[in-house]
């Protein structure tokens, strides 16, 4: 429950933080880091405009997307490696819950009958399909290193046996997962979240027709997705200091470390975004192919090292 609130509450902040640093590095002042909260609050107070060609799928999607992301937030260890609901599902369930959200978003992109939506949806599916094998193989590497696919067990094992973290295969898996994270959350160099041209949109293209409450839910869900994937990355590959139990003191330390780590990775994302241009659409498979090869090497080195 607590971690759901953390993810729910902090995800817009992370987005605002990234935007702010990016603006700073571009020598702009940028909006306040709380701007995403103002946006959400404004959007939630507004009425919505719905296309007359759309159906109940369009109206159901924001709720489905929001709910599935929130279920994931209950399963991911955030501050403590002990997740009370960890029997509910493992990392495979998490991957497929992301797929559930994506499924409905892409359906909606076709629902309004506008070509921009379909274009975004089609490209989103391409990117995610190409990212899927790399994601699975890097998660397999982690799962095989720690003998579990349950995120909370993985974090526990890795936090207590730091020697496992020196495994080269985990490093390769980390690289692969980082590339997948960038692709999945629609950041540069795969997709530009700030684009204003419909023809270049991928993720934003699908959300073009949403407004008011619906837009708020979908926006919120996508920032939570970013934070969740970052949390998974942080807590799998750098689980230092994460609380083992549920004691207050441990949680406080973990919280401080968590903020530092997420901040660091957010900064890394900004650096990547600053130093690359968005690549051409049909170069994306090459990038994700690299991620796949990295994760394959991770698996092979895992077996060779053993």
């Amino acid at each position: 429950m607590l971690q759901m609130l953390i993810i729910l509450g902090f995800s817009p902040l992370v987005k605002g933080f990234i935007n702010k640093i990016e603006a700073r590095l571009q020598c702009r002042r940028g909006a306040s880091i709380f701007q995403p909260y103002y946006n959400l609050a404004k959007l939630l107070r507004k009425d919505a405009v719905v296309s007359e060609t759309s159906s109940w799928i369009f109206r159901a999607t924001p709720y489905v997307v929001f709910t599935s992301i929130l279920i994931i937030s209950l399963l991911v260890p955030v501050l403590s490696a002990q997740v009370p609901l960890n029997f509910t599902g493992d990392v495979i369930l998490i991957v497929y819950l992301f797929a559930l959200a994506r499924f409905f978003l892409v359906l909606t992109s076709l629902d309004t009958g506008s070509a921009f939506g379909g274009m975004g949806g089609s490209r989103e599916m391409m990117v995610s399909a190409m990212a899927e094998p790399a994601m699975m193989l890097s998660l397999f590497t982690v799962a095989l290193t720690s003998d579990s696919t349950n995120l909370s067990n993985i974090t526990n094992t890795l936090a207590h046996n730091s020697i496992l973290l020196l495994n080269p295969s985990l490093f390769l898996a980390f690289m692969a997962f980082a590339i997948v994270l960038i692709a999945e959350t629609g950041r540069i160099p795969v997709d530009n979240p700030f684009t204003h041209l419909e023809l270049t949109m991928i993720h934003e293209g699908m959300m073009l027709e949403f407004s008011g409450r619906y837009l708020a839910l979908v926006e919120w869900a996508s920032s939570m997705k970013l934070l969740l994937l970052m949390t998974i990355l942080v807590n799998i590959f750098t689980p230092w200091g994460i609380a083992g139990g549920l004691s207050v003191c441990g949680l406080l330390i973990a919280c401080a470390l968590y903020v530092v780590k997420i901040g660091f990775f957010a900064f890394l994302i900004v650096v990547v975004e600053m130093s690359f241009a968005k690549i051409r659409l049909f170069r994306i498979p090459n990038l994700l192919g690299t991620a796949f090869i990295l994760s394959l090497l991770a698996i092979i080195s895992l077996y060779v090292v053993r």
């Binding site: 992109s109 699975m136 193989l137 696919t149 067990n153 994760s295």
Partner: protein
């Protein structure tokens, strides 16, 4: 109860036979004849369902022998848990399809001979039940042929369409090639039996004694023989032709269960007759399964005919089931019985899942065809407002097949991933890596399936209608969607309550592999809800669903509290200032265009743009855009084979002179040669 199971089974076969004969009786009154035959089929399916459920729950093995005096063929049947499981799947799908057909065959009233449809349909269901229970090679071959021939007649039911006739002939030829391979396999095994008995019981005993070389030969013969029926690449050619050609109610059964009889064959041969098998057999089966899965879905992706799309997707799903079987074989050859059982369970779980959601999808395709008289999804659109019941059913099936939780497709893929992860216990490093790469392929396949079915659902049901067919569509008769509702309910049930399915599957795995892992898979958490557990992790789709519902309710409640009078203004879609038209919508071809570019090595896309000008070269009158996919397998695999066969047959044509004297000479020479051989 178990002692009545054979009686129930015999009654169901008799009912099927009666149904098929009744259909022929009503000469001038076709509708009634058709109706009665379908009702008989449904009742018969109920009987076989009960019979197989009883056998499955008791885990017993029941023999059915028909001792005929001085019979050359021994009519032996055997219902063990494996047969019972397949019979259960067949009868569940048969039951639903029979009810569905009552509505669907109205499409053919006064247009075609529906009596014939009823006649063959009943025989088809009965033959499948007999295939999975036959306990004698000769009986098996007879019913296997019966199944092929009867389904051939169902494929060419709409025989005035030349494409259907071509599909039918392709099917019957390939089915017979497959049968020939199987016959050779049976004969090779028979040669080692030593008695004049083709019983499967003898084969079970002889398998271990056969020399390795013969075992390998039989292994490959069986792969080809059953592989043709399963539609594995590159033996799939008939499947995307025949399944769309058949009426949709028949496609339901063909795609849902008929192609599964091949899996039955694999299990019988590789786990009972040819044991113990070397690890590389499993690897071969695994690779075949993985390549069928990925190639099947890639071809489905570019397809515009909805039934052909579904047929290709059946190839993909059969590939996934075969991956499960292959993994199970690998584990078994290394004597890791519990894991072997887990992988087998994953495969069999996916088998029933696929049977359920694929029949549902074919039912939806049938509804679309019933309502719009077209199968081309580019001509559809906006059906969600016209077929209001079909749309959610299609959505459930599409979600299930894309392995989205909490529906059933996810559960079987989850089990498959768990068994793939467990491959770290295999001693050989190469096999470990191959297995994990197969896992990556399944992940890629899953994402492609999602794309494919988003396309199928999104283009045909959402946005605006693209043609008049779609604009004037009306919902189908209630009997059709009610029967499909049963399947959709099963999709949800099997996804949320996996423990029940595991307990159903447990006797099957226990019978084949001799180890009972059902108990160790089911556990309870601290809230005393049932969860599924492997040595890697636990999963409880039930509590995930409950959590999801709670969160959904909380979100809705919070939003309503925040702004009780939330208004939705309805307005037309913004299309840069033009009024929205169907022509502006994204098409199915465009939706999958990125994949065509990425996988252009496989697709070899062909593109032709023809521009017609009017008087001057500045004014374009029309632009024709033709795009297509090169059929690689037809060109590079079937082409050479067909040319080779034709070449040989032209070469030996001179033998057929047409003169009876020459033929008598042939017979005489053959006789002499035979006498010489036997005389030795």
């Amino acid at each position: 109860m178990v002692e009545h199971a054979p009686h129930l089974f015999i009654i169901s076969i008799i009912l099927y036979a009666a149904g098929s004969l009744f259909a022929l009786c009503f000469y001038g009154w076709q509708r009634a004849g058709n109706f009665i035959s379908l009702v008989f089929a449904a009742i018969a399916s109920c009987f076989s369902m009960v019979a197989s459920a009883v056998v499955l729950s008791s885990g017993a093995t029941i023999r059915l022998d028909f001792p005929l005096y001085h019979a050359i063929i021994k009519y032996n049947f055997l219902i063990d848990p494996v047969s019972a499981y397949f019979a259960l799947v067949i009868s569940v799908i048969g039951f639903v399809a029979s009810i569905y057909s009552i509505g669907y065959t109205r499409l053919y009233v006064n247009k075609r001979d529906t009596r014939f449809l009823g006649f063959t349909y009943n025989l088809f269901l009965a033959s499948m039940l007999l295939v999975v229970t036959a306990n004698n090679a000769i009986v098996f071959m007879i019913v296997w042929e019966l199944m092929a021939i009867v389904s051939f007649f169902l494929v060419i039911f709409e025989h005035d369409n030349p494409a259907n006739m071509k599909a039918g002939f392709m099917y019957i030829i390939m089915a017979h090639v497959g049968a020939a391979f199987l016959a050779i396999a049976f004969f090779i095994m028979f040669a080692h039996v030593g008695t004049w008995d083709f019983g499967f019981d003898e084969f079970r005993k002889v398998g271990g004694r056969m020399p390795m070389i013969y075992k390998n030969v039989v292994f490959f013969l069986v792969i080809v023989g059953f592989g043709i029926k399963a539609g594995i690449f590159p033996l799939h050619l008939w499947l995307p032709m025949a399944h769309p050609a058949a009426p949709s109610n028949v496609s339901m059964v063909m795609s849902g269960v008929m192609i599964k009889t091949a899996i039955y064959g694999f299990i019988r041969f590789y786990f009972e007759f040819l044991t113990p098998c070397p690890p590389w057999w499993g690897v071969v089966v695994l690779i075949i399964g993985a390549s069928s899965a990925i190639l099947g879905i890639l071809y489905a992706l570019t397809e515009r005919d909805i039934k052909t799309l579904l047929a290709y997707s059946s190839i993909e799903n059969n590939g996934i089931i075969i991956i499960g079987v292959g993994l199970s074989m690998i584990f078994k050859s290394y004597n890791l019985m519990a894991l072997s059982s887990l992988a087998m369970m994953a495969g069999l779980y996916h088998l029933i899942n696929h049977a359920v959601f694929k029949s549902l999808l074919f039912g939806c395709a049938g509804n679309i065809y019933y309502a719009t008289h077209t199968r081309n999804i580019e001509e559809l659109g906006g059906l969600i407002k016209r077929l209001q019941v079909t749309a959610p059913l299609f959505l459930v099936a599409a979600l299930s097949i894309s392995a989205i939780p909490p529906l059933n497709g996810f559960m079987s893929e989850w089990f498959l991933f768990q068994s793939i992860l467990n491959s770290f216990q295999i001693p050989s490093v190469i096999i470990k890596i191959i297995t994990l790469v197969c896992g990556a392929i399944i992940a890629l396949t899953g994402a492609l399936v999602a794309t494919c079915f988003i396309k199928a659902f999104g283009i045909s049901f959402l946005a605006m209608p693209r043609s008049d067919h779609a604009k004037h569509a009306k919902e189908v008769p209630a009997v059709m969607y009610v029967s499909m509702g049963l399947l959709a309910g099963l999709c949800v049930f099997m996804g949320i309550f996996p423990a029940k399915i595991i307990m159903t599957l447990n006797p099957v795995c226990a019978h084949v592999l001799g180890i009972n892992i059902g108990k160790s898979l089911v556990a309870y958490d601290w809230m005393q809800t049932k969860i599924v557990e492997t040595n890697f992790t636990a999963l409880s789709p039930k509590s995930a669903t409950v959590l999801g519902l709670i969160i959904l309710a909380a979100t809705l409640g919070a939003l309503t509290l925040m702004r009780p009078r939330f208004v939705k203004k309805v307005y037309e879609t913004w299309t840069c200032g033009m009024s929205p038209q169907p022509r502006l919508e994204y098409t199915a071809t465009a939706f999958t265009r990125p994949f065509k570019t990425i996988f252009s090595n496989l697709y070899r896309p062909q593109l032709e743009v023809r521009t017609e000008y009017s008087v001057l070269n500045y004014f374009v009158r029309s632009i024709t855009y033709i795009s297509g996919v090169t059929p690689l397998f037809e060109n590079y695999f079937y082409g050479p084979v067909a040319r080779f066969v034709l070449g040989i047959s032209t070469g030996v044509k001179w033998v057929h002179t047409g003169s009876i004297h020459i033929y008598l000479t042939y017979i005489f020479i053959t006789l002499i040669i035979l006498i010489l051989f036997v005389g030795k």
